[in-house]
């Protein structure tokens, strides 16, 4: 079977485009819109060509009004459609915050299951692209704290495609965060066929025995670079890609901690009140007696991501990851 699949080399941008294309083609209830997402195909060209192929009624531009983009999508989702909306950047998801927390996440519960919200809110997230303010943020903790949402972050073209298809097919609303920094940096053979990757399952990327490193999105690549340094230093690292932030795949994380006794968490967002804290809580709640060193967060400062000149000081570099891995292992 595997051998017969047609494969293409894709970037994350192309993989998401391909996933959207497949779903638009097979399911007439899928519609997709956002600022510049129609004619132009979005500022990152993720939706390029889709309007031409699927028509302006199904792939279109929206006025600049994020609350409206999300709020109208919820209306569509409640009445038979499966909208996928693009918010132009992480920092522009906030004007839609009230619709997301007060309505999108709750409509199923509020209506006792009568009105579902099968919709995807996708946006590029994260730093490292020398951007203006509001263009470098990692708000996953905010969305993961909101009951009723699922929060997905792919780190490879393959995962991006499979998870996007799963997200569109999800009956629950999904926040889909795309690592813009590696939108085009990673190329990978991806099946041209339709496939999906289950939401809520992490992936062990590298097996190891000394320490567990948990990361997601653009930080995976940085971790992989740190792993090279760790290997040289004789440290065996188990690297886990979360892929989904909520619901967290506790089983995979906890099994790994039970094996290694140590955990280092890597993420770009500010440290405090973050996904890092949650992972440390899980380590305590589920694997306390196995912990041989304090779980460690290698995360952003509790500051705004600086503009380009200061960004290198903020962003998590492979050597910093290695430094903390080594300190944790030596604890």
């Amino acid at each position: 079977m595997e051998g017969e699949q047609k494969m293409s080399v894709m970037t994350i941008v192309q993989a998401i485009n391909n996933a959207l294309d497949i779903k638009l083609a097979e399911d007439k209830t899928v519609v997709m819109y956002g600022e510049d997402a129609g004619l132009e195909g979005g500022v990152f060209r993720v939706t390029e060509g889709l309007q031409k192929k699927h028509g302006v009624e199904r792939v279109f531009d929206a006025p600049i009004a994020e609350s409206a983009i999300v709020g109208t999508a919820l209306g569509m989702a409640m009445s038979g459609l499966r909208p996928v909306v693009e918010l132009q950047f992480d920092g522009f998801s906030y004007p839609a915050f009230n619709q997301i927390i007060s309505n999108v996440s709750r409509m199923n519960n509020r209506s006792r299951g009568m009105y579902k919200a099968p919709m995807v809110i996708r946006f590029p997230y994260g730093g490292g692209i020398n951007a203006l303010e509001h263009h470098s943020e990692s708000p996953e903790a905010l969305y993961s704290h909101i009951p009723g949402l699922k929060v997905v972050v792919p780190s490879t073209p393959h995962d991006a495609k499979g998870l996007m298809i799963a997200a569109i097919e999800s009956e629950d609303p999904v926040i889909f965060m795309e690592p813009k920094r590696i939108y085009r940096a990673i190329k990978q053979e991806v099946s041209d066929d339709k496939f999906s990757i289950p939401i809520g399952k992490a992936k062990v990327l590298t097996e190891g025995t000394d320490v567990t490193v948990v990361a997601f999105g653009a930080m995976i690549r940085e971790c992989q670079k740190a792993l090279v340094m760790a290997k040289e230093a004789g440290i065996s690292v188990e690297l886990i890609d979360l892929r989904t932030i909520y619901p967290l795949d506790k089983e995979t994380i906890v099994n790994s901690i039970k094996k290694t006794g140590k955990i280092v968490i890597v993420a770009e967002a500010p440290t405090s009140f973050s996904v890092g804290g949650e992972l440390m809580a899980i380590a305590n709640e589920e694997a306390f007696l196995y912990l041989e060193a304090p779980p460690k967060r290698v995360m952003g400062f509790d500051t705004i991501v600086p503009l380009a000149k200061g960004e290198p000081l903020y962003m998590i570099s492979p050597d910093r990851i290695f430094y903390e891995i080594e300190r944790t292992v030596k604890f």
Partner: protein, 362 residues
């Protein structure tokens, strides 16, 4: 066309009967048979009876809160009577009458205000969205549903509503702006009852009225006497035709007065005068319709008896609501997701363990 003839820019108000129930604007009188007019009044009588009972149930401590609709009956009856089963209702919170005409039961309304989510599970009402407490947000949902029915080429119209205070929210403007762009079959109503809790509408905006806001979005708008059943009926009828013809959305400002308190925990004497109330009570929608019927001699029912009948019905519904089976732990969890995460299952199991311990301590 009403929407052309009563220009909100000139602050015109559309009205068909006066406070004495006399027709003052014959050409716009909707063509309704006596039966329908009587039916409208009966609806309003039911609304008011149920509303007053709800207030008193709350006072007895049997519900937690309730937003009285007293005074809004003409708007509710006129819009409800212009809605078909397949049409959508996207309500705020002061639309009990419209919800009833769409098939929601008083039992469900009561359940909701008793603090039970089951009150938003409208068993027999088609296409009614649960009430939206976060002001303004429902307008966007209505716009989205409008897009959806248009895209799916369905013969469905969407009705939504907001208060005068709600027009200040950003979502109100964003929703109408999208509606103008998308030409969606949505009828947006502003129930301008003069107050947002304690704040009078003049402190809400400096616009000459609320209907003019439609200009900023390129959709028709009209200011209507919301206590005049015929004016409201004619307006909705025209709006429905407009939507059916594929022309898009309209904005209706329905002028009324919140005769009761904001909710049962509010005390209007703090912020408005008796004189003002008295002045507005003269425009009561039910008195006006009744007077109209009296002039025409078509009202032959015994109102007291009707009220008694309605009371029995409402009592029955209230009793049913009070006798709902107790809230279960499962009810907290089961609808959070269609596909429930293991985490939630575990949180529930942990809590059950605690409950077992608690039981064991007794």
């Amino acid at each position: 066309m009403i929407f052309n003839d009563f220009n909100p820019l000139e602050d015109k108000i559309f009205r068909v009967i006066d406070n004495d129930g006399k027709v003052i604007n014959k050409e716009y009188m909707p063509d309704l048979d006596d039966e329908t007019i009587i039916q409208a009044y009966k609806h309003m009588l039911f609304f008011r009876t149920a509303d007053e009972m709800a207030v008193s149930f709350q006072r007895q401590g049997r519900m937690y809160t309730y937003p009285p609709c007293l005074g809004h009956e003409a708007i509710h009856a006129a819009s409800g009577m212009n809605m078909r089963d397949q049409d959508w209702l996207v309500p705020a919170f002061r639309e009990v009458g419209i919800m009833l005409l769409k098939g929601v039961s008083m039992k469900e309304i009561f359940l909701y205000y008793m603090g039970n989510e089951e009150g938003s599970n409208f068993k027999k009402a088609n296409h009614v969205i649960p009430i939206s407490i976060s002001i303004g947000s429902q307008y966007l949902h209505a716009t989205g549903i409008g897009y959806s029915v248009k895209y799916q080429k369905k013969d469905e119209i969407v009705f939504t509503s907001i208060g005068d205070g709600g027009t200040s929210e950003g979502d109100f403007s964003e929703a109408l702006n999208f509606a103008g762009n998308w030409k969606v079959p949505v009828i947006y109503t502003i129930q301008n009852n003069q107050y947002a809790i304690s704040v009078p509408v003049k402190n809400q905006t400096n616009a000459i009225n609320l209907a003019v806001k439609s200009v900023g979005f390129g959709i028709p708008g009209v200011k209507v006497d919301g206590n005049d059943f015929f004016a409201m009926y004619a307006t909705y009828k025209e709006a429905v035709e407009y939507a059916k013809a594929g022309k898009g959305a309209v904005l209706i400002e329905a002028l009324t007065y919140r005769k009761g308190a904001h909710t049962t925990s509010d005390d209007p004497t703090k912020y408005r005068t008796k004189e003002e109330e008295t002045e507005w009570h003269k425009t009561d929608p039910m008195h006006r319709l009744k007077k109209y019927m009296d002039h025409k001699g078509i009202w032959k029912e015994n109102e007291e008896e009707l009220i008694e009948k309605y009371k029995l019905e409402v009592d029955k519904q209230f009793e049913e609501a009070e006798n709902m089976p107790p809230y279960k732990l499962d009810d907290v969890f089961q609808h959070m997701y269609v596909d429930m995460p293991d985490d939630l299952r575990k949180q529930k199991a942990d809590y059950e363990q605690f409950l077992t311990w608690k039981e064991s301590k007794k």
